[in-house]
């Protein structure tokens, strides 16, 4: 066996140029798989982060009826107790109550339909990143509690600037009477998302409660978990624990099913890319091994003639494939690490592009994981051996007399 290992290794190094070309082909395939996987993980992180950190949070609590009908009167039941419980839960980092209402915002120049979001600025700043997205003004920088923070596109439409007055008109939740509040623009944000920049206006929660006549109520509690992943694990007992008394807790993957679908699609695309790469790599391996086999036909004939068993011939080809795979995997791992690391340093700038309800706010950074340097190389190594079974079987089937005759 040892001699066969030695023989296989030397055979692989026999035609250095061919081995290097084959190893580069396989290595580039492996490196691509590592890179694509790292990029997919980076993209997932980016998309999830962009979707959840801008405004949504990792999960949200609503009155079940509000989820179905969006009726203003359907507020969260037992808000104070629930909020207290959530804030005491070790899984929850922040819990921010919100009032949501559909209404009209008007300036002397124009008016627009808007979703008003009433927030508690002290906790909301840790949940949504409105303060980070501010391009003008400050984060509820007023003392009178009449601040409104609007998006850049809405400001454009209303033709307002910082300090200008606007009027918010809402229908009260229970009576349906119109209610108005004069507000002053104290901040303008830009998320580069049409939905956020044009359709939303943030006010203090007390002001929003006044407008909708919903004292001490909230429509929504936005949650940020200590572990981001919990927002996707909607089967986690956490969701059942707080879905009581007519309330419903939903993770981001349920709130934004299109994002979840997009992520699954991107994972599926990764598998397809992997399969295509494997197919290309396998053809390269088969070609290399068959070329090597045909080139040494007489030699194989002699080996069979002097008593090497068919299984010994097959083993030799498999060992050669293993040696080739080893060189290729080493090359692929180095190349994959190098390319991914370089790209991870600088990132790929997709910021501003909206995809599946999420807007990339930061460049894409491929994420290198130890797993990629174990799983993919092992897969490529095993795959190389599996692909080599065909040439190995051909070598085992060689009739020594035919092999020597063909090569003469």
């Amino acid at each position: 066996m040892w001699l066969q290992v030695k023989l296989a290794w030397r055979n692989v190094l026999r035609n250095t140029r061919r081995t290097i070309i084959a190893a580069i082909a396989i290595g580039v395939g492996l490196a691509s798989m590592i890179f694509v996987d790292a990029l997919t993980i980076g993209m997932e992180h980016n998309m999830i982060h962009s979707a959840t950190a801008s405004y949504m949070g990792h999960a949200q609590v609503h009155n079940k009826q509000f989820t179905d009908t969006r009726e203003a009167a359907s507020t969260i039941n037992g808000l104070d107790t629930l909020l207290q419980q959530l804030r005491n839960d070790s899984l929850v980092k922040y819990a921010s109550p919100r009032i949501l209402g559909q209404g009209m915002i008007s300036s002397p120049a124009n008016m627009s339909a808007v979703q008003m979001i009433g927030v508690d600025p002290t906790v909301e700043r840790y949940v949504s990143h409105i303060d980070d997205a501010l391009v003008e003004g400050g984060y509820f920088a007023d003392t009178a509690g009449r601040a409104v923070i609007i998006g850049s596109k809405l400001a454009e439409r209303l033709e307002v600037e910082l300090g200008d007055r606007v009027v918010m008109t809402m229908a009260e939740a229970t009576s349906g009477n119109l209610s108005q509040q004069m507000l002053r623009v104290r901040g303008i944000y830009h998320f580069n998302s049409t939905e956020l920049d044009q359709g939303m206006a943030f006010v203090r929660i007390d002001r929003a409660r006044q407008l909708l006549a919903l004292p001490d109520q909230a429509h929504e509690i936005a949650l940020v978990f200590n572990k981001e992943g919990l927002g996707r694990k909607t089967k986690h007992p956490f969701y059942d624990r707080y879905s009581y008394d007519g309330n419903l807790v939903e993770g981001w993957s349920e709130i934004l099913p299109q994002l979840e679908a997009a992520l699954q699609m991107s994972q599926f695309s990764t598998y397809i890319v992997g399969l295509v790469l494997f197919a290309v790599v396998s053809l390269g391996i088969i070609n290399t091994l068959f070329m090597s086999l045909h080139e040494r036909m007489f030699e194989f004939g002699v080996m069979r003639a002097v008593g090497t068993q068919p299984i010994g011939m097959a083993r030799l080809i498999l060992l050669e494939a293993a040696a080739l795979a080893l060189i290729s995997v080493l090359l692929g791992v180095i190349l994959g690490w190098l390319v991914t690391s370089i790209v991870a340093q600088h990132g790929i700038d997709y910021s501003g592009i909206e995809f599946a309800g999420a807007t990339f706010r930061e460049p894409l950074y491929p994420v290198l994981q130890t797993d990629q340097f174990i799983r993919f190389p092992v897969m490529v190594f095993l795959f190389t051996l599996i692909v080599a079974v065909y040439p190995a079987w051909s070598a085992a089937k060689l009739n020594p007399a035919d092999a020597m005759r063909k090569s003469m």
Binding site: L3, K6, L7, R10, N11, R14, F298, E299, V302, M303, R304, A305, V306, G307, T308, Q309, P310, G312, N399, P400, A401, M404, S407
Partner: protein, 233 residues
């Protein structure tokens, strides 16, 4: 089994071989009856296409006859499976081919000990026998060289060493001198003859080179796949 079969290394009875060459049926061997006893030094002679190589392939179990029987050391080759034939060749036959005999990536020592490795002989014994045979053939100092670093004659000597090191019943050589100059060719045949006389190794070789033929003690001439003459000197 008859007495003559027991004494014979090879016995063929009505061996024929037909194959298709680009769809054209070719009768390469047309009924050969031949017995070769232990210790013989026999040349199978004939022009190109006379069936020498095909006959050697058949008697060594490398190729199956279309008809007839081949007995090797008393055993009917047609009764053996592919695996048994491999083992039989490994343990009972030494091969020398006309060229590209050796595995180029292995050293002289590794090439010579290859068959013993297949036989499962212990390392110390292998090394001892390799050293002994290479010394005997004047290759003692070339043990670590690889075939491309040797001349054609030296490579064939290594092939002889590999063929005899496992002490086979029979050494088959298919035109062993075909790629050698006349001096080296005579030298190689002289060496084979010497091994035959000293150790009693049975040699059967094919050739069409007159200078080589004159060293043979028995000459079997083939023509069109049949024995034309069989002379013992």
């Amino acid at each position: 089994m008859t007495e003559s079969q027991q004494g014979a290394v090879i016995k063929t009875q009505g061996v024929t071989k037909e194959y298709a060459d680009n769809g054209v049926p070719v009768k390469a061997v047309r009924g050969i009856d031949l017995t070769i006893d232990r210790g013989e030094f026999t040349a199978i002679v004939g022009p190109s296409g006379s069936g020498k190589t095909t006959f050697l392939n058949i008697i060594s179990g490398l190729d199956n006859p279309s008809g007839g029987k081949v007995y090797l050391a008393g055993r009917d080759l047609s009764q053996m499976s592919g695996s048994e034939l491999s083992n039989y060749r490994r343990d009972h036959i030494g091969f020398i081919f006309q060229a590209y005999n050796l595995i180029p990536v292995l050293t002289v020592q590794e090439n010579v000990e290859y068959i013993m490795l297949l036989q499962g002989i212990e390392r110390d014994e292998r090394r001892e026998r390799v050293q002994q045979v290479l010394e005997q053939l004047g290759l003692g100092k070339m043990i670590s060289r690889r075939p491309p670093q040797l001349s054609g004659g030296q490579q064939q000597r290594v092939a002889v060493a590999r063929a005899i090191v496992s002490r086979p019943d029979l050494v088959l050589a298919d035109e062993p001198t075909a790629n050698l100059d006349s001096e080296t060719a005579e030298d190689l045949i002289g060496l084979m003859r010497q091994l035959n006389e000293q150790d009693g190794t049975t040699f059967v070789f094919s050739t069409h080179d007159d200078r080589v033929i004159r060293h043979a003690r028995r000459t079997v001439v083939l023509k069109d796949g049949k024995i034309k003459s069989d002379e013992i000197r």
